[in-house]
């Protein structure tokens, strides 16, 4: 028992080290991150302005509500992008930096290595998503959200992160299998989630077969829950309809993600793909 506790403690310290390293790296390029944040803001505004555009061209809609709906979609999408990017970088970035062999030789279990990446990605992503939402909703558009329940919305986003991390782990194996094109292929999975999860439109408008896929996408439940909390003012109790499926997807996706990553690592070690680019 003591050995188990000691091992767990060591693993957590190691994962903490990975979090710390990512924090140092982010701090190192903080001004570039600010510049990139401006791009995210611009991208989000472009999407939210669509509601105003429809109204301006004679469309009949509740502009404030539609803008908020689109804003939530854009913010969740940006958040998802951050999580996936950090997970994908587990391999791609280290390959580019030339540190990949050393990272894979370190006495840290792959689960804790990926958990370290994931935890930092969640913390950083949540911070950015919150900031993005505040800047766009209140500083730029002055949107009205009289019934909004931000706490349940935040909880749903945090819970959904677990499932996103599991999917991110599966995607991060792509650069391991294909050093040349794997990273780009990761966007395919990200794009698929974008299409089926109702990021900018209700899932009901999709063909039936896409709606089936939507039921296993954590983004569907995350968006539903956050919109219910912010637009309808639903509290924590109502969130269980979303949190339940999100937890189930998380329970499946995390072990599956680790398994897929493990298989990818085996493939890379068998075929000599665990090496730096160039």
């Amino acid at each position: 028992m003591r050995a188990l506790v000691s091992t767990m403690r060591a693993e957590l310290i190691g994962a903490g080290g990975v979090v710390e390293r990512n924090a140092y790296l982010t701090k190192r390029y903080i001004w570039w991150d600010v510049a990139w944040f401006l791009w995210t803001v611009a991208n989000t505004l472009t999407i939210v302005f669509i509601a105003k555009g429809i109204e301006a061209t004679g469309g009949d809609l509740d502009v404030n509500r539609t803008m908020t709906t689109l804003l939530i979609g854009a913010v969740v999408w940006a958040y998802l992008g951050i999580l996936f990017e950090f997970l994908m970088e587990t391999v791609a970035w280290e390959r580019w930096e030339g540190t990949i062999e050393y990272t894979f030789m370190a006495p840290l279990s792959r689960a804790m290595h990926l958990a370290g990446q994931g935890v930092f990605a969640i913390a950083y992503g949540l911070l950015r998503a919150t900031f993005l939402f505040v800047v766009c909703a209140f500083l730029f558009f002055d949107l009205s959200m009289p019934d909004a329940q931000f706490y349940p919305a935040f909880v749903v986003l945090v819970v959904s992160s677990v499932s996103f991390i599991g999917i991110g782990m599966m995607m991060s194996v792509l650069p391991l299998i294909s050093p040349e094109k794997g990273t780009q292929l990761g966007f395919v999975a990200q794009g698929t989630l974008l299409v089926v999860s109702g990021v900018y439109y209700p899932v009901e408008v999709l063909p039936q077969w896409m709606q089936w896929i939507a039921t296993i996408s954590p983004a569907t439940y995350a968006l539903d829950g956050i919109r219910e909390a912010i637009l309808e003012g639903q509290g924590m109790t109502a969130m269980w309809d979303e949190i339940g499926p999100l937890l189930i997807i998380g329970v499946v996706s995390i072990p599956l993600g680790l398994w897929v990553f493990g298989r990818g690592e085996q493939y890379a070690k068998k075929h000599g793909k665990l090496k730096r680019s160039g």
């Binding site: 091992t7 060591a10 080290g17 140092y24 790296l25 540190t99 062999e101 050393y102 006495p107 665990l274």
Partner: protein, 327 residues
């Protein structure tokens, strides 16, 4: 401690690499039917290294040195045979194994490019579970030994190649590895820096009784550090033994460099004249006859200076490879 630090038995690594003819037609055809061929990077090598031993692992580019070291570090799976390091099978990634080895590759980096080395050292401390007092003591000791106190606070990308190599080595040794795989650690470094690193490796090995396996194209590294060498070529083991024995086995000759009082005449009766530069003549003679030829030269010629030398190790290694190519 185990009786053997590194044991390799009939170790093999085979890669399947795609190949096709040049041109658009061949490129299109390869989309449907991909042709591959087997490359035997390591082809049945066996050796053992005792704890505390330092061994030169030599071979030309593509001989299979790095592939072998990667298999011994668990970064590559073996295709056949067996490798054990400190009693562990490297591919299993057992924590006890990973905490006791280190691989330093001269053309790779383990330290984050954008961070000061001190930050990366901290990550190693966390991952290798080094107690802070031990970590600080060894870190400072290594920094002092390599005289890099003013370098570890700069981002690694701002360091020169030699400086980077020094901080890389510190990063690799913080957990006091018992087995050290050094793959071209002095590549690209100037002569002074090479010498400093060699001294450092020797000192580390002595202090920590570490086992070291060193690959290098600089024979000065090998001569300075290794009593034993393992030579491989095309994935096969060509020689395993004392460095001196390698010279005796492959190059059973010595060179005699002489300067004569009355200028150099025809000296071909003494041995093969391999170099002539004014009054200086270099002869190659069989090792067994060196003493007799030297005595004859001293007796029969007006010798101003005479120097008998073993063949340079570079030449010996070259001969090993050439002999393998002929066979």
């Amino acid at each position: 401690m185990s009786e053997v630090a590194v044991r390799v038995e009939d170790l093999r690594k085979v890669f399947e690499v795609p190949e096709r003819e040049a041109g658009l037609k061949a490129a299109t055809k390869s989309l449907v039917r991909r042709k591959t061929r087997e490359v035997r990077a390591v082809d049945g090598i066996s050796f053992e290294i005792a704890p505390g031993e330092i061994v030169g692992f030599l071979g030309p580019n593509g001989a299979g040195k790095t592939t072998t070291l990667k298999m011994l570090s668990g970064l590559l799976y073996v295709s056949g045979g067996e490798a054990r390091v400190l009693g562990h099978i490297p591919s299993k990634r057992e924590r006890d194994f990973l905490r006791r080895i280190s691989l330093v590759m001269g053309n790779r980096n383990q330290l984050q490019w954008d961070l000061p080395a001190l930050d990366s050292f901290e990550l190693n401390r966390a991952i290798y579970r080094i107690p802070r007092p031990d970590f600080l003591a060894l870190r400072d000791e290594l920094i002092e030994l390599l005289e890099i106190g003013d370098l570890v606070r700069k981002p690694v990308r701002q360091l020169s190649l030699g400086e980077r190599m020094k901080v890389e080595i510190v990063g690799s040794l913080l957990h006091r590895p018992q087995v050290l795989f050094l793959d071209e650690p002095t590549i690209g470094l100037d002569v002074t820096m090479q010498k400093r690193l060699r001294e450092f490796v020797a000192e580390y090995r002595q202090r920590h009784e570490a086992t070291v396996m060193l690959t290098s194209h600089y024979m000065a590294d090998v001569e300075a550090l290794c009593e034993r060498v393992i030579v491989i070529h095309h994935g096969k083991l060509l020689f395993d033994g004392d460095l001196a024995a390698l010279s005796d086995t492959v190059a059973a000759w010595k060179t005699i460099a002489i300067v004569l009082e009355n200028g150099a005449g025809d000296l071909s009766s003494y041995g093969d004249v391999i170099h002539r530069d004014g009054d200086l003549v270099t002869l190659r003679v069989p090792k067994a006859e060196t003493a007799r030829v030297t005595a004859r030269l001293l007796a029969e010629q007006e010798v101003l200076d005479l120097n008998v030398e073993d063949p340079p190790i570079e030449d010996v290694i070259e001969l090993v490879f050439a002999r393998e190519a002929v066979e």
